[in-house]
């Protein structure tokens, strides 16, 4: 369990990172190392060039601007855990944080690292998808804003190009009085989800805004689009909600593995979503 030989750069400025990314197409970014380093130790990942983001300035801030919560990609997960701005502007993130790993992994793991790693059962990709946040990608070519619904392409695959760095996660500030719910089924505390749901419901002047997504039940988080559309048209009755849930569940393509059969995963997604909706609607 020793990694294969690799070179590592420890740049201090963002421009250096972008230069290195453009000159090393096979470079891997080290952003906390809670997934990458074990994979390297198992030699399941053998990057030849590693760029450590730990020294780069300006990537760790958590702030609010233009109605958005802005989370620097290198903000540690522990910083999201009890941050007052996160609680106020992204209560769904706050609700999800207790399910993210353990104290030890949260101390090292970063927000951007988790999002860019794009594990389909991870919590942060799920809430970013549910809230349809904006992912800021930078390269020498410029800055790009990627909508959350388009960022996650497949398991462990994102819309980032090989020379791009995820620098910031922007989440629309939760409207006043927004109700959020997060539910996850996992065999042990801190494990990746067998199935999970993240839901935010806001009563706006022009109607109800429901944001919902399911995790662990496919190669990327599933956005519950039709459910949201139905709520936008007016709060549906409980029979209708049950039907809408079934509709979303039917769209899922979960896999069977050692943890759960596909059918059972689908059922747990149903229970998760139902629980979350009950929590935000009542």
């Amino acid at each position: 369990m020793k990694p294969a030989p690799f070179e590592m750069a420890r740049p201090r400025a963002l421009t250096e990172v972008l230069d290195l990314l453009s000159s090393h197409s096979d470079a891997k970014l080290l952003a906390g190392g809670q997934s990458l380093v074990p994979l390297m130790n198992l030699r399941m990942a053998t990057p030849e060039f590693l760029i450590d983001l730990g020294q780069v300035g300006g990537l760790t801030g958590i702030s609010v601007a233009n109605g958005e919560l802005r989370i620097g990609a290198m903000a540690r997960q522990k910083d999201l855990f009890d941050h007052p701005l996160v609680e106020l502007h992204a209560p769904l993130v706050a609700a999800a944080m207790p399910y993210v790993g353990h104290v030890q992994t949260r101390n090292r793991g970063t927000a951007g690292g988790s999002v860019a790693h794009a594990d389909p059962a991870a919590e942060l990709p799920l809430v970013v998808t549910a809230l349809n946040g904006t992912l800021i990608a930078q390269s020498k070519r410029g800055v790009r804003e990627i909508p959350g619904h388009e960022f996650f392409v497949d398991a462990l695959t994102t819309a980032l190009d090989s020379d791009e760095l995820l620098t910031e996660i922007r989440l629309p500030s939760a409207p006043k009085g927004a109700r959020v719910a997060f539910w996850e089924f996992a065999r042990r505390h801190g494990d990746f989800a067998i199935a999970s749901a993240a839901v935010q419901l806001s009563r706006l002047d022009h109607g109800i805004e429901l944001k919902a997504a399911l995790g662990g039940v496919g190669s990327r988080p599933h956005v519950c689009r039709e459910l949201s559309e139905a709520f936008a048209a007016g709060t549906p009755g409980s029979d209708r909600v049950a039907k809408l849930i079934e509709h979303e569940i039917a769209l899922l393509q979960p896999q069977s593995d050692l943890q759960a059969s596909a059918e059972y995963r689908r059922h747990l997604a149903r229970v998760s979503l139902t629980k979350c909706l009950q929590q935000v609607v009542t």
Binding site: L42, F185, R188, L258
Partner: protein, 783 residues
């Protein structure tokens, strides 16, 4: 936990363990030391066509060993004990012409450091020709299946049967009978510290020192001596700090021989540290048993007969500790109950998987799960309480001594003391235990489950100790045992202090080093108290006599009037001005009473006459089960435990709680999985699930002390009893939560570990009244 009493001093070992001063194998750094890696088979079953290490040598390998390089391939392992039905099939030191499981060592490569060794290990070219894999017991026993070893006809490595009375006849004639199938998954003992070895051969003295993470240092010494042609006196195995074992280090492994041989070839110290990947795939696994159970019972709830057939998936080889778990399953299949007709047949079947050996409980949890869950079904059938079915069958004080008729090997055992009905009562009353489920405000069904477990201790007879006093009054206890953290340095000091009459603070204990004593065994199979502590007591008693004899001369007193208290000689119960240190000085060279002896010391070997000590524990688990998802939590846990005399109640509690938590993991989380090709599917700790603190409930223990008559201290073993009944208690609780009266849905819960998906299916089964056999039942290969 109860407040610390005088019998529970803080553990002597903890200061160094907690302040990072312990020396585990990877902490050993020797001059000129180099490091090695094992190259292991990626194939479950294949012929080795060729091995070419030239590129690795060119890249800087100091040594590459394959089986062809070993001069001792024809040597046999030294085993402590061997069941007569075993048909050979021991592992080679390195794979010869064939590999039989993923992770089997094929070559050993040494380089200047571990990083380089892992890099250039990839350059060793090994060509394999795949053979048809034997991926399951069903495949192994199918006609025409490829044979793993020529001697294993039908891939059966060993097979035996024990019986008394007429189980078949009684079952055939009985109106009340039950037949069920059970599976206990393959699991891993998983110590925090994996295996590891630093071998240091000194050519000038022809002397080999091996720092080893082992539970069994003397057996390893015997093997190194015999296989490497060294005299035992010239081999020293040091295992002073070992980061857990749980049965996985109770035997000699081929790797230890190979690393030592490499040191002898290179004339340099060689280190090998097992990484977690290797630990999961190449350290012996355990459990891995299927059981067919039939019981007969009468209308009064008396179990009249028990018949079991057990199939053990032993993996690719019979490992160096034989088929111990299979033998213990047979010995303990009737639990603490009076059953007059018992028949058990055990078949050990080879597959292309990692060999199995012992893991905490070693056959006892496997024996307990079928019986204790079947008892709950019988109770439901008869509409009597789960407590009552046990109460009606359990061995009573009036039945004692109740000799077990199923013992194995040379060992014998009897239930000789203890009030089992009282223990049942204590578990079921005043603990919150109830057989009526409730629904809590989260919508969970909450229910209790009960199970009894028998723990046998004192396996592998003989343990040694030596106690000495130096002129400064320091008492040193040397023990042949080894420790993996169980606190023997504390309990042995307590036993010595009490027996000899000196202060606990003035006693130091050394163990885990074959250089200390010529004979010993080690710390495994719950031997620490029953064998190790009694050896310390024996040596201390002998030394006490010696001290008093010398003191009588020095004081010109009648020896009968003397005693020792707090290290001071007392005459007629009042202190003299003579201390044990002064007695030691008096007989040292130059002292007034020098007799030519080296020092004030006494040795003792405790001989148990191969009589095991049995102890009972009664477990009550409370679970909360969510019907919609099948997810569940263990929310309360009660244990009534008989440890005999508790040498140190705090350590007893720690052992029992640790065992219970381990047992919960065994019951609901841990399973090592292979696919049908024999490929390991969950070979990292990201995938192999182990219990962690959030899943563990508070464990409440009530102690019942019935002194064991099998040994002078009156102790019973405690290392394994915390685990043995846990899966049964949890399974019974879940079954009751789903339906306290109906029978049949629990079939969905008859495989360990119990997963939420199985519980969900059990709910569905109870709702629909459809009780299908579990899917793995079709793999049952006998008849």
């Amino acid at each position: 936990m109860s407040a610390r009493d005088t019998n529970s001093p803080l553990r002597k070992e903890d200061h160094r363990l907690l302040t990072g001063r312990a020396r585990f194998t990877d902490d050993v750094h020797l001059d000129r030391m180099v490091e090695g890696v094992f190259i292991r088979s990626p194939m479950a079953h294949a012929e080795i066509v060729s091995i070419d290490a030239n590129a690795a040598i060119a890249a800087g390998a100091l040594l590459v060993l394959t089986s062809k390089d070993l001069p001792f391939n024809d040597r046999d392992f030294v085993v402590r004990y061997w069941h007569p039905s075993i048909k050979n099939g021991l592992p080679p030191f390195l794979a010869m012409d064939r590999v039989r499981y993923v992770g089997e060592p094929v070559a050993f490569l040494v380089a200047n450091d571990r990083y380089l060794a892992e890099d250039i290990a990839a350059l060793v070219q090994i060509e394999y020709r795949a053979l048809a894999p034997v991926g399951s017991v069903a495949v192994a026993m199918a006609p025409g299946s490829p044979l793993l070893h020529d001697e294993w006809q039908g891939n059966i490595a060993a097979q035996f049967k024990h019986s008394f009375g007429d189980a078949d006849g009684v079952i055939a004639r009985s109106a009340g009978r039950l037949k069920r199938y059970y599976r206990y998954a393959r699991q891993i003992p998983l110590p925090l510290e994996g295996r590891g070895c630093v071998a240091d051969y000194a050519v000038d003295q022809n002397e080999l020192t091996v720092y080893l993470s082992t539970q069994s240092h003397y057996n390893v010494r015997a093997n190194l001596s015999k296989i490497l042609d060294l005299s035992e006196s010239n081999v020293r195995v040091v295992a002073e700090d070992v980061g857990g074992g749980f049965g996985s280090k109770s035997r000699t492994y081929p790797e230890e021989i190979i690393v030592s041989h490499a040191s002898m070839r290179l004339g340099r110290p060689v280190k090998w540290i097992e990484d977690r990947f290797e630990n999961l795939q190449a350290t012996t696994h355990s459990r891995s048993m299927d059981t067919e159970l039939e019981i007969a019972y009468n209308a009064e709830g008396k179990i009249t007969a028990l018949k079991e057939r057990v199939i053990v998936d032993i993996g690719a080889y019979v490992y160096t500790s034989g088929i111990v778990t299979a033998e213990i399953v047979a010995a303990r299949c009737a639990g603490p109950y009076k059953i007059d007709n018992v028949s058990i047949e055990v078949v050990c079947v080879g597959t292309n998987k990692t060999p199995i050996a012992t893991y905490r409980g070693a056959g006892q949890p496997e024996a307990t799960f079928p019986l204790e869950t079947a008892l709950d079904v019988v109770a439901k059938e008869l509409k009597i309480a789960a407590v009552d079915i046990r109460e009606r069958n359990i061995i009573r004080p009036a039945d004692m001594p109740y000799t077990s008729r199923l013992d194995h090997g040379t060992a014998t055992s009897a239930f000789e003391n203890g009030d089992f009905p009282l223990m049942l009562k204590k578990a079921a009353t005043g603990t919150g235990y109830s057989e009526t489920p409730a629904t809590n405000d989260r919508g969970e069904r909450v229910a209790w489950g009960l199970a009894c477990g028998v723990e046998a201790s004192g396996f592998v007879n003989y343990e040694s100790a030596k106690v000495s006093i130096d002129p400064s009054g320091l008492v040193t206890v040397l023990s042949g045992i080894s420790s993996q953290g169980q606190g023997q340095r504390t309990t042995y000091a307590q036993v010595c202090a009490e027996t000899l009459g000196v202060r606990f603070e003035n006693v130091q204990v050394r163990l885990g080093n074959t250089g200390l004593l010529p004979f010993g065994r080690g710390g495994f199979a719950t031997r620490g108290a029953v064998l190790g502590a009694n050896a310390v007591a024996g040596a201390s008693e002998k030394l006490r006599s010696q001290v008093l004899a010398v003191a009588a001369t020095l004081l010109q007193a009648d020896r009968q009037t003397l005693s020792i208290f707090s290290g001071i000689i007392r005459r007629n119960r009042s202190d003299t001005n003579l201390s044990v240190g002064e007695v030691a000085r008096a007989i040292a060279p130059g002292g007034a009473l020098y007799t030519g002896a080296m020092a004030l010391e006494a040795e003792y070997i405790f001989d148990s006459k191969d009589l095991l000590t049995l102890g009972l524990s009664v477990h009550a688990a409370q679970v909360a089960v969510y019907p919609r998802s099948g997810f569940f939590r263990v929310i309360d846990y009660r244990i009534v435990h008989d440890a005999g005399r508790m040498l140190n109640p705090m350590i007893v509690e720690g052992q029992v709680i640790g065992g219970a938590v381990d047992g919960i993991g065994s019951a609901i989380l841990s399973e090592i999985s292979y696919d049908s090709e024999g490929q390991l599917l969950n070979g990292t700790l990201a995938d192999y699930m182990v219990i962690t603190a959030p899943e563990a409930p508070r464990v409440h223990i009530e102690h019942v002390e019935s002194r064991a008559s099998t040994n002078p201290l009156g102790v019973r073993g405690i290392g394994e009893g915390g685990l043995i009944a846990v899966p049964s208690a949890i399974a019974n609780a879940i079954a009751r939560a789903i339906d306290p009266r109906a029978v049949g849905h629990e079939i969905s819960l008859s495989k360990l570990p119990i997963t939420p998906e199985m519980v969900f299916q059990a709910f569905a089964a109870a709702r629909d009244g459809k009780f299908d056999s579990p899917p793995w039942r079709s793999e049952w290969p006998l008849r």
